[in-house]
C-alpha cells in the first residue's frame, strides 16, 4: 500500500480551524481599529483578542503535531527550489501564527488592558502600561499581519497553481476532494 498524499485528519482539522479563525479575526482587526469608541467596539476588541489567543493555542498544538508526524511527501518531480520555498514559507507561516498573537497580547498590556481569554482566563501582563511601547507594538502587530497576509496569498496561490494549472491533486492533501493515494 502506498503512502497517503493526505495529511492526517487531526492536522487537516487544525489547519482549517486555524484558517477560519485567522480569516475572521484579521478583517475584524482591520474593521474595529477605526471605529469610534462604543460598547460594540469594546466587544469586538475582546472577541479579536479571544480569537487571537485561541489561534496561538491551536498553533501550539499544530506545531506539536507537525513535529511528531511526517507530512505527506511532495511529488517526486517537484523542482528543488520549490521544495525549499515551500519549507521556508511553511516555517514562516507557523512562526507568524505564533508571534502575531503574542505581539497583540503584549500590545494590549502596554496599552493598559489585560487580556482575559473569553472574559474568564486572565493572561499575565508581561509588560507595564507604557504608551510609547503600546504604539510601537501596535505597529509591529500590523506589519507582521501584512507579512502574514502576503504569505497566505502565496500559500493559497501555490496550492491552487499546483492543483489547477499543474493538474496535481494538491488540494486533497488538505482534505479537499476525495482521498487519493500516490
Amino acid at each position: 500500500m502506498s503512502a497517503s498524499n493526505r495529511y492526517s485528519t487531526t492536522a487537516i482539522v487544525l489547519h482549517w480551524l486555524v484558517a477560519a479563525l485567522i480569516f475572521s479575526t484579521f478583517p475584524l482587526g482591520l474593521y474595529m481599529v477605526d471605529l469610534p469608541l462604543s460598547p460594540d467596539k469594546l466587544k469586538l476588541y475582546s472577541y479579536h483578542k479571544w480569537i487571537g489567543v485561541s489561534v496561538f493555542l491551536l498553533v501550539a498544538i499544530r506545531l506539536g503535531w507537525r513535529l511528531t508526524h511526517t507530512p505527506p511527501a511532495l511529488p517526486d518531480d517537484m523542482a528543488a527550489w520549490q521544495r525549499r520555498a515551500s519549507a521556508v514559507a511553511h516555517g514562516l507561516l507557523y512562526a507568524l501564527m505564533a508571534v502575531i498573537p503574542v505581539s497583540g497580547w503584549l500590545m494590549s498590556s502596554a496599552k493598559g488592558f489585560q487580556t482575559v481569554w473569553f472574559g474568564v482566563l486572565p493572561l499575565p501582563d508581561l509588560v507595564e502600561r507604557n504608551r510609547e511601547l503600546g504604539e510601537l507594538l501596535a505597529t509591529v502587530h500590523q506589519v507582521l499581519n501584512y507579512v502574514l497576509l502576503a504569505l497566505v496569498i502565496l500559500h493559497v496561490g501555490a496550492a491552487l497553481k499546483h492543483h489547477f494549472i499543474e493538474r496535481r491533486p494538491f488540494l486533497q492533501r488538505m482534505g479537499l476532494g476525495g482521498k487519493e493515494t500516490t
Binding site: L37, S38, P39, L42, K43, Y45, S46, K111, G112, F113, Q114, T115, V116, G119, V120, P122, R129, R131
Partner: protein, 184 residues
C-alpha cells in the same frame, strides 16, 4: 507605679495630649485612582488634579471637616481614546460639569485609626450621600488618610445611552484615594 511604667504611659499618651490637627494637604503625595471592569477586564485610571481642604484632628473626629474638588479634565480613563470619550455628554458632560466634589458632613471614629467619613458626593449635577471608610496613619513628615469605596456610576448618570449597558462597562467603580497631610 514605677518610673518606667510612668514614662511609657507618658510616651503613649503623648499623641493624644499633643493632638495634631491636619490642615495642609500635600498634593504630590496624594492620589485618587479608580478601577472598573470593561468586558470583564480590570481597567485602572485616576485623576491627576484635585484640591483637598481639611481640618482633621484624629482625637476630635466630631469636629473634623474635609472637602475635595476634582478637576475632571485631569482624568486618566485607561486610554487616550477613553479620556476624550469621558468628556462627552454621555459620560461626565464636562463642559457643563467640569468638577466633582465631595463635602463631608460628619466624621465618626471606628477605632483603631479608622474613621467613617460621611458626606455628599456631587458628580454631573447629581448628589448622593456616601459613607467612606478612611484609615489614618501617622507619619514622620506627613500622615496619610487612605480611603476606598465603591461608586455606582449609573447613580450619577455616568455613561448614559449606549454606555448604560453594564455588561460592557461595569456599574461598580472601585475608588481609592490617599490624602497626605501635615498639621500642627
Amino acid at each position: 507605679m514605677n518610673l518606667a511604667t510612668f514614662t511609657l504611659l507618658a510616651v503613649l499618651g503623648a499623641p493624644a495630649a499633643h493632638a495634631v490637627e491636619y490642615t495642609t494637604v500635600l498634593p504630590k503625595q496624594s492620589s485618587i485612582g479608580f478601577e472598573f471592569r470593561q468586558m470583564g477586564v480590570p481597567v485602572k485610571g485616576g485623576f491627576k488634579r484635585f484640591t483637598t481642604q481639611m481640618q482633621f484632628d484624629p482625637a476630635k473626629p466630631a469636629a473634623a471637616r474635609a472637602s475635595i474638588e476634582i478637576d475632571l479634565a485631569s482624568i486618566d480613563a485607561g486610554s487616550p481614546e477613553a479620556d476624550d470619550e469621558s468628556a462627552g455628554k454621555l459620560w461626565f458632560n464636562r463642559s457643563v460639569y467640569p468638577k466633582a466634589t465631595f463635602v463631608s458632613r460628619d466624621v465618626r471614629a471606628l477605632g483603631n485609626n479608622r474613621f467613617e467619613l460621611r458626606g455628599t458626593l456631587t458628580l454631573k449635577g447629581k448628589s448622593r450621600d456616601m459613607d467612606i471608610p478612611v484609615t489614618y496613619q501617622a507619619g514622620k513628615n506627613a500622615s496619610t488618610f487612605d480611603g476606598s469605596f465603591v461608586l455606582k456610576r449609573l447613580d450619577f448618570g455616568i455613561g448614559e445611552g449606549m454606555w448604560a449597558d453594564v455588561a460592557t462597562v461595569a456599574n461598580e467603580v472601585q475608588v481609592r484615594f490617599r490624602i497626605a497631610a501635615t498639621g500642627k
